[in-house]
Amino acid sequence: MTGFARRFLSRPTALLGFAVFAAIVVIALAAPFLFARGPFAIVGMPLLPPGSPGLPAGSDVLGRNMMIALAYGARVSLLVGISATLCSTLVGILLGALAGYYGGLVDDLLMRVTEFFQIIPAFVLLMVLVAFLQPSLTSAIIGIALITWPNVARVVRAEFLSLRSREFVEAARTLGMRDTRIILTQILPNALPPIVVVSSMMVGNAILAESALSFLGLGDPNLLSWGSMIGGARSAMWVAWWTTTLPGLSIMITVLALNFVGDGLNDALNPRRSR
């Protein structure tokens, strides 16, 4: 594991991504303590440019403090991104492991289902799902998890399929080890690296999906998120660039940081596969 840490930290982009992501997490956690009045409070004139007194990031169309809104927006993005990824990773590991290890009918079914999810327009399905369930934080998380779990399941299945026929797993079976123990102690530890990489990148994709939903007005109406800030400021874009630019940059920086982390993990976990 020390070799892993060294390889990860030796990549400047990975280190940078990790630091930026950590900072965003801190901001998200600290937002309610720093800005107790919440993001919806009107603090001044609308559309004041960044740098106005007390408004380092300016004010939006309704005269709300953009900086506070950005900090609270991080909470929504991270909450949705991380919870959706956790759900879909757990489901994906469970189903992928069963299909990859046992094969047969379970596997056939899972493969057809994941193929189906690969083919259908996932984002439209997400829109339909959230619209029918009524827009809320929960429906966004459920919807995003629903359209992303097949990606995890495919990766896990492929890993299990290849590891299952490795001779050390066969050896474990000839020793008389039970299937659950084989899956947990022999296969899963070896299958974890790609799962970790996929999951770290999925958090970023989930954040993008949430922002798109909110942008289209399918976000939680009671929460302010980066996507809904951009959506709400579309009419002001021509006169007040910061109202759309800053939340967009926030999304980009967060997702970029996560992708850098994922890339770094990928190289650190598969030293041979890089380049």
Partner: protein, 324 residues
């Protein structure tokens, strides 16, 4: 033998279509309240008798399997229901907008494939070089930026600040161009939404081409080709690129489903009168039948496109034989 493969793929496409319809039916039942309450709410009055007549009209008083059967057979006949808001058949509305979307997508896919394969090819030539690293960073950037926001920024720069390109729509309103002039007008309008849409896929193509070419270049048959004394250019084209492009065909099919999501966002930003903008309008006016119709139509189109790419794949790769 390929025929067998193609037949299997056709069956699969039909199954996907059936699954999409089943999923849609499930979705309708998932929504809180039934169509009647939604429609009644929509129309403003909700007395019991009206609700009952609505339920009878939509067959909601019948058992679920009967409803399912009716729904499936209606969809199979092209009846996707009626839009709440426009009181027009959903399919008619969608078909009106579809050509614009297909035009935008075709433009984006061609730009993405040509640009991406070219960039990826250059990057693969010299792994670790400045161009290679730049491609990787650029790809990472396009993966991380929200597509709708990228579109807005492009608009801000090229339409608002620089004033080079028109910011909205598919053609100049009121200009009433015809013939070539009209095509030119559309071509100018397609540039911003088209490239915005293409960027993400270009990044994917560049990365995939790069990986595939580096992988193929390491294989023994490339060594054989060199041992045969074939000129390096021919080695690169016939042996490396030819093999590296095969996975890209499948990839193009898989990208199609993501492309539709991009349509919704990018068309909406640039007011491109396509199916994507229509989806946004449906969401905005809570027009659920229309939204569902869009889902069904796009899903079936995407699976047909996948069918085409799979057949193309089976032709490009002689190893595809019996249905696999």
């Amino acid at each position: 033998m390929k025929l067998h493969y193609i037949a299997m793929r056709l069956v699969k496409t039909v199954l996907v279509a059936i699954a999409v319809v089943l999923l849609s039916f499930f979705m309708i039942r998932l929504a809180p309240g039934d169509v009647a309450t939604v429609m009644a709410g929509q129309s403003g009055y909700a007395d019991e008798a009206y609700m009952k007549s609505l339920r009878a009209e939509y067959g909601l008083d019948q058992p679920v399997p009967v409803q399912l059967w009716k729904y499936v057979s209606a969809v199979a006949h092209g009846d996707l229901g009626t839009s709440y808001v426009r009181s027009q058949p959903v399919l008619t509305i969608i078909m009106e907008r579809l050509p614009n979307t297909l035009l935008l997508d075709a433009f984006a896919l061609v730009v993405a494939a040509v640009g991406g394969i070219w960039l990826g090819g250059i990057a693969a030539r010299r792994p670790g070089s400045a161009i290679d690293n730049a491609t990787t960073v650029l790809a990472m950037f396009f993966y991380s930026v929200p597509q709708f926001w990228l579109g807005m920024m492009m608009m801000l720069v090229f339409a608002v600040w620089l004033g080079w390109l028109p910011p909205f729509g598919i053609e100049t309103m009121g200009a009433d161009y015809t013939g070539l002039a009209r095509m030119g007008d559309v071509a100018v309008h397609i540039l911003l939404p088209g490239t915005t849409l293409a960027f993400y896929f270009m990044a994917s193509y560049a990365r995939l081409t790069r990986t595939a070419m580096i992988e193929v270049a390491d294989q023994d048959f490339v060594k054989t080709a060199r041992a045969k004394g074939i000129p390096e250019r021919q080695v690169a084209r016939r042996h490396i690129l030819r093999n590296a492009l095969i996975p890209l065909i499948t990839f193009a099919g898989l990208q199609a489903s993501i492309l539709v999501g991009g349509n919704v966002l990018v068309e909406n930003v640039f007011s491109w009168p396509g199916v994507g903008t229509l989806a946004y309008e449906a969401v905005d006016s809570r027009d659920n039948p229309l939204l569902l119709g869009i889902f069904i139509v796009t899903a079936i189109l995407v699976s047909l496109f996948n069918l085409v790419t799979d057949i193309a794949y089976s032709i490009a790769d002689p190893r595809v034989e019996l249905g696999k």
